[in-house]
Structures are given as structure tokens and as C-alpha cells.
Amino acid sequence: MQIIPIGYYLLFCTVLFCIGVMGVLIKRNALLILMSVELMINSINLLLAAFSTYLNDPAGQIFVFFIMVVAAAEVAIGLAIIVVIYRTTHSIDIDILNKLKW
């Protein structure tokens, strides 16, 4: 069975992570930022799973499950906050959310 070399995984995950980072930096829509953060988390998850296989250590994959569960809970909270923000300001553009300062 042909195994994908670990280097490919590394490269792919780095690219995914960077896309996530760029999304967080560039996007103004809170929903899209949240999605970009998810992308970053999942790129790390993928890397964990890849290394787990590469090193024949199942602990990495167990971790991935835990991370996905926690991330799901956290996204729920994040989405809830966005809903509340939308209700109060009728917008989810982060640029107008600049009251918390000084």
C-alpha cells in the first residue's frame, strides 16, 4: 500500500493553517473569521492524526477526537455570541465592534 509521505501532510497542513490565518486577518465578517479559526484548528487536527499514524501511536488520534468535541462546544458558544451581537447591532462586521477600548 502506497503511503502518502509525511512531508506532504506537513506542507498541506501548513498551507491550510496559513489560509486560516489569512482568513482571520483579512475577513471582516465575524462568521467567516470563526470559520477560518475552525480551519486552523482542523489543520492541526489533521497533522496530529498524520503523526499518530507515522509514529504508530494511537494517542494522537484520541486527542483529535477530544479536540473536535471541545472545538464543537466552543464554536457553539462563538456562534451564540455572534447571534447576540447581531441582535443588538444588526451587524456582524467586527469593525463596528470597537466600543471596548482604553
Binding site: V21, V24, L25, R28, I94, D95, L97, N98, K99, L100, K101, W102
Partner: protein, 637 residues
């Protein structure tokens, strides 16, 4: 049984202090009036029993060890009491006179809001004073020594709402500290020299030593420094006149009869050490004589009734030190005892006058009080005659004994001491005439309110007057056919010192003694007449005013400007230094550092807080930039 009784003597006043002090205002006045004097009376009864017991035992010395107080390798201090003729004499004086003054205070302090506090302090004072004289070592003596200083401070500042009184209290305390430092150093030196601080150990070792060694001179000089502070001698005497700020019974008990004589007692107790240092003895004598003359001359031109008595006390203490310096230890103790009687009497009499005058203390505003205060007048006259030295009053015998001891050693000193005695007679009769004779010079209101003191104040005065008259009996001199009882009673205490003294003390023939006594009676009589013509026959007020404008009387009225001198030399430079430290070190350096830290934090915060823009995008960007920076940093390293 006996040791229990000995322990009870100081314990009772302590108990009184604890009950009155802790109970404070919850104890009714009637209970205080019984308990305050009562504890001292019981101590007095105990002292009398001990006294008679001591007469029956030989050798007349009882040491009771209550418990070992401090004990570790090579050093032990036991809490023990020494009962010998010297301490018993002091015990009887302290508790006897102390009881009478307590009794007097019941009347005198009747309307004072701090009634209970007053008796608590007074009982505490008696406790410490008893500790001082009963202790069988310098450590116990030092505890008492400091304790009486504390009580003196508390009682001078008894009316603490008056800032001047507080200052007087602080002055007394601080000046005493100067002397106490010397005393403490003397105790340390004693310990390094003898390896013990108990009297029996030290004195038996000292007996075999050679006189005139440097270490002995150092020890005695340091001990004498303590005595100078406590007994208000030159140069540490200025606190005592100011100490008159306290209530009059306090002046009588602490600043006349007992505490100020602690220095005399200490020197008499350490007699063997002092005779081993002839140089110190000379210094003691000279200091004593100088103080006696100095204070007596100041007293001539004072106008505050209590201040005159205060300077008179300083002067009489000077006589006691003069006697000690001459090696006439019995003479000093004799004068101490009679002085306790007549000076307590004079102070309490003055208190009675002040009471009647509604707080007025200036004798220029009195006069003619003999009419309204008949009893006080006669009692006061007894005290005045006693201190002036008219036979058969007690002061005559004790002063005569000191003067003849001086006569044996040094005739010029005897003449000077005689001049002091003349001044004593003069200022005391000036005080007496200005207060009790002539016309009343106060206000009409005061005149109407003049009243004799209640009998609870008069009874102690009468007892003291009897003692002042008859007190001389305890040591009638040999030339009058007396038994010199005190001399033989105290003899064992001073026996070891006698061989070291250069001249035998009591070696005058009876003819010379009669002559000396006659001379002193004559000059005292002349001075009384001078005072009579000056202050009674002529207009006293005018004279006073005119006199004070000329040089010498002005100098005397201002107490030789000693207070001003000390103010210039010590107080002002010190407070200037403190002020300088406050202005420069405190304000300019320490405050700047502390405040600077705060200001730095505020300024930094003010600058940096603008980074918090509120823009989420900016935060995220900074975060990513930070992460990249850390990564790059790690790569480079």
C-alpha cells in the same frame, strides 16, 4: 513565714495597682478611697513587723530568695530581697510617708475625674520604689529604678490634656534616661568586674580590693551618673522644677520624699564601692555642694510656691550627696529621712494652700493666709523651722551632722555649706512670710472662697508635723547626750567601708560640736530676721519688682538661664537636625522615590493604554505578528 511577709510588702501595692488599674472606672470611689491608702498602710504594718524582727536578729541581715529569675551558663539573677537596716529604714520611710500622702490625696483629689487612675499610679509607684530598695542586687534595683521613672512620667503628665504638663513629663523622662544610661553601663561594668550582680557577692569581693583602681572609679562614676539623673543634681536637675506640673501629692511623694532620694540610697547602698574610689567621692561631694548652693540661690527669687519647694528639694539632695562624698553615709540617710518628713509636710501644706486659693500658685498673690488657714499655717511653720534648721526640729540635727562631717574634712567647704544653709533659711521664711503673713494680695473672689482643708487632709499633715519635730530623735547627736541610735542601727551596713575612709568621721570633741551648732543657729536666726524685715515690714511687692531688674536677682529669677542654655546647646541643634533630615532626606529623597514609583506607573499606563484600540482586527494582527516574531526569534537563536 517571714519571707512571705517580706514578699507581701511590695506585693500589696502591686495588687492595689492591678485592681484599681484594671477595674479603672468601674470601681466606686469609696472602694478606691479605702484600697488606695489601705494597701500602703498594710505594707507599712508589714515593714514595722520586719523592723522589730530585724532588731532581734544578729547579724541584722535577711536575704529572701523568691525564685531564680534568669539563669543560664555563668549568669544567674535571682529575684531576691535583702532586708538590712538600710533597706528597712527606707521601707519605713516610703510606706509611712507614702501612706500619709495617699490619705491626703483622698481629700485632695476628691473631685478629679481621674481619681482611680491616680491611685493606681500611686500604688504602682510605691511598688516599684519598694522593689528598688528591697532588691538584693543591682538588677532588681534597676527594675525599680526604671519603674519609678515611669510612674514619675505618668504622674507628672497626670493632667494630660495640658500640653505643657506633657512636655514637663517628657522632659523628666528624657533627662532621667541620660542618667539611667550611665547607671546601666555601670551595672554592665560591675558584672564584667565581679561576675555577679548580687550585693552580697559584690560587696564581699570588693572588701578585699585596693582603693583607687581605674575600674572602680569608672564603675562608681557611672553609677553616680544614674544618681545625678534620678536625684536631680547638676547638670541634670532642670527636670525637677518642671515636674511640679503633677498633682501636689505626687510632688510630695515622688519628687520630694522618695523617688528623688533613690540616688542617695543607691550610693549609700554601694558605699563600699564608692570608698574604693576616692576620686569619685570627691566628685560626689563637689557636685552635691555645688547643687546645694546653686539651687538654693535660685529658690530665693522664685515666685511659684511649688517651684521654691522644688529647688529647695534639689538643694537638700545636694546636701545629702555632700554628706555621701564626705563618707558620712549615716548623715546622708538621716537627712534623707528627716527631709522626707518635712518636705512632704511642706509640699502637702503648699497643696492645702493651693487648694484654698483655687489653684493659684504665685506667692505674690497670696499673703495673710494665716488668718483663714490657721491649722495649715502652724503646720507649715513647723516644716519651715525644720528645714531652716532650728533646734529641736529634725532638720537641725540632720543638717548639723552633715555640716560637722564637712567641717572635719575641709573648712572652706564647710563655710560654703553654711552659706547654703543660710540661703535655705532665707528663702523658706520668705515663702512663709509672703504666703501666710501680711495683707492678702489676691482677688476679692479668692478671698471669699478661702477655706481650711477637710480633716482628711489635715490629719496626715499633723502626723508629718509631729515627725518633723521629733524625727531628729532617731539620731540625737552624742554631744547633746543623745544615743545616736541611727548611727548604731545603720552601723553594720557601712562597717566595711569605714577602714577605707581617710579621716574618722565622728572625731570632733564635744566643745567644737557645740560651737558648730551654735554658729549655725546664729546665722539661721539672722537670716530669718532678714527675711522678716524684708518681706513683712516693708512693701513686699514693690521690692520684688525693683529687685528683679538688677543683674544678679534677674539672673537668679531666670534660674541662671540654664533651661535656655540647654535649649540652645541640645534641644535646638537636635530639633534643627531633625527638621533638616525631614526637609531633605525625608521630603526630597524618600518621598521622591516613593511618589516617583507611583508617578512612573501612572505615566506608563497613560501612554500604553492607547494601544487598546477596540479593533479586533488590530488585536489579531498584533497576535499573529507576535507569534511570527517569536518563531523568527527562535530560528535565529
Amino acid at each position: 513565714m517571714l519571707s512571705l511577709l517580706i514578699a507581701l510588702i511590695p506585693a500589696l501595692p502591686l495588687l492595689g495597682f492591678l485592681i484599681l488599674g484594671l477595674g479603672f472606672n468601674h470601681i466606686p470611689k469609696k472602694v478606691t478611697s479605702v484600697m488606695g491608702p489601705g494597701t500602703v498602710l498594710l505594707s507599712f504594718i508589714g515593714s514595722v513587723i520586719i523592723f522589730f524582727h530585724l532588731l532581734s536578729v544578729t547579724p541584722s541581715r535577711i536575704v529572701t530568695n523568691l525564685f531564680d529569675w534568669i539563669s543560664f551558663s555563668g549568669f544567674s539573677v535571682s529575684f531576691s530581697f535583702l532586708i538590712d537596716p538600710l533597706s528597712v529604714l527606707m521601707l519605713l520611710t516610703i510606706t509611712g510617708v507614702g501612706f500619709l500622702i495617699h490619705l491626703y490625696s483622698v481629700g485632695y483629689m476628691k473631685d478629679d475625674p481621674g481619681y482611680n487612675r491616680f491611685f493606681a499610679y500611686m500604688n504602682l509607684f510605691v511598688f516599684f520604689m519598694l522593689l528598688l530598695v528591697m532588691g538584693a542586687g543591682y538588677v532588681i534595683m534597676f527594675i525599680g529604678w526604671e519603674g519609678v521613672g515611669l510612674c514619675s512620667y505618668l504622674l507628672i503628665g497626670f493632667w494630660f490634656k495640658n500640653q505643657e504638663f506633657n512636655n514637663a513629663a517628657k522632659k523628666a523622662f528624657i533627662m532621667n534616661r541620660i542618667g539611667d544610661l550611665g547607671f546601666l553601663l555601670g551595672i554592665f561594668l560591675l558584672f564584667t568586674t565581679f561576675g555577679s550582680l548580687n550585693y552580697p557577692d559584690i560587696f564581699s569581693l570588693a572588701k578585699g580590693m585596693h582603693p583607687g583602681t581605674g575600674v572602680m572609679t569608672a564603675i562608681t562614676l557611672l553609677l553616680f551618673t544614674g544618681a545625678v539623673g534620678k536625684s536631680a543634681q547638676i547638670p541634670l536637675f532642670t527636670w525637677l522644677p518642671d515636674a511640679m506640673a503633677g498633682p501636689t501629692p505626687v510632688s510630695a511623694l515622688i519628687h520630694a520624699a522618695t523617688m528623688v532620694t533613690a540616688g542617695v540610697y543607691m550610693v549609700a547602698r554601694s558605699n563600699i564601692l564608692f570608698v574604693l574610689a576616692p576620686a569619685t567621692l570627691t566628685i560626689v561631694a563637689v557636685t552635691g555642694l555645688a547643687t546645694a548652693l546653686f539651687a538654693a540661690s535660685i529658690a530665693i527669687y522664685q515666685n511659684d510656691i511649688k517651684k521654691i519647694l522644688a529647688y529647695s528639694t534639689i538643694s537638700q539632695l545636694g546636701y545629702m550627696f555632700l554628706a555621701l562624698g564626705m563618707g558620712a553615709f549615716t548623715g546622708a540617710m538621716f537627712h534623707l529621712t528627716t527631709h522626707a518628713f518635712f518636705k512632704a509636710l511642706l509640699f502637702l501644706g503648699a497643696g492645702s494652700v493651693i487648694h484654698a486659693m483655687g489653684g493659684e500658685q504665685d506667692i505674690r498673690k497670696m499673703g495673710g493666709l494665716g488668718g483663714s488657714l490657721r491649722k495649715t499655717r502652724w503646720i507649715f511653720l513647723m516644716g519651715t523651722l525644720a528645714i531652716a534648721g532650728i533646734p529641736p526640729f529634725s532638720g537641725f540635727f540632720s543638717k548639723d551632722e552633715i555640716l560637722s562631717a564637712v567641717f572635719i574634712h575641709n573648712i572652706p567647704l564647710w563655710i560654703l555649706a553654711g552659706i547654703g544653709a543660710m540661703m535655705t533659711a532665707f528663702y523658706m521664711f520668705r515663702l512663709y512670710f509672703l504666703t501666710f503673713s501680711g495683707k492678702f494680695r489676691g482677688t476679692e473672689k479668692q478671698k471669699q472662697q478661702l477655706h481650711e482643708s477637710p480633716s482628711i487632709m489635715i490629719i496626715p499633715l499633723v502626723v508629718l508635723a509631729v515627725l518633723s519635730i521629733a524625727g531628729g530623735m532617731i539620731n540625737f547627736p552624742g554631744f547633746t547626750g543623745g544615743s545616736e541610735w541611727l548611727q548604731s542601727f545603720l552601723g553594720p551596713v557601712f562597717a566595711d567601708s569605714m577602714p577605707f575612709l581617710k579621716a574618722p568621721v565622728y572625731a570632733l570633741d564635744h566643745y567644737t560640736e557645740w560651737l558648730l551648732a551654735g554658729i549655725s543657729i546664729v546665722y539661721v536666726g539672722i537670716m530669718i530676721l532678714v527675711a522678716y524685715f524684708r518681706f513683712l515690714k516693708n512693701e513686699p511687692e514693690m521690692r520684688e519688682v525693683i529687685l528683679q531688674k538688677s543683674f544678679l536677682p534677674g539672673l537668679l529669677a531666670h534660674k541662671y538661664y540654664i533651661d535656655e542654655l540647654y535649649d540652645r546647646i541640645f534641644v535646638r541643634p537636635l530639633s534643627g537636625l531633625s527638621k533638616g533630615l525631614y526637609e531633605i532626606v525625608e521630603k526630597k529623597i524618600i518621598d521622591k522615590i516613593v511618589n516617583g514609583t507611583g508617578i512612573l506607573v501612572i505615566r506608563t499606563g497613560n501612554t500604553i493604554r492607547y494601544l487598546q484600540t477596540g479593533h479586533v482586527g488590530f488585536y489579531v494582527f498584533m497576535m499573529v505578528a507576535g507569534i511570527i516574531a517569536i518563531l523568527l526569534f527562535n530560528l535565529v537563536i
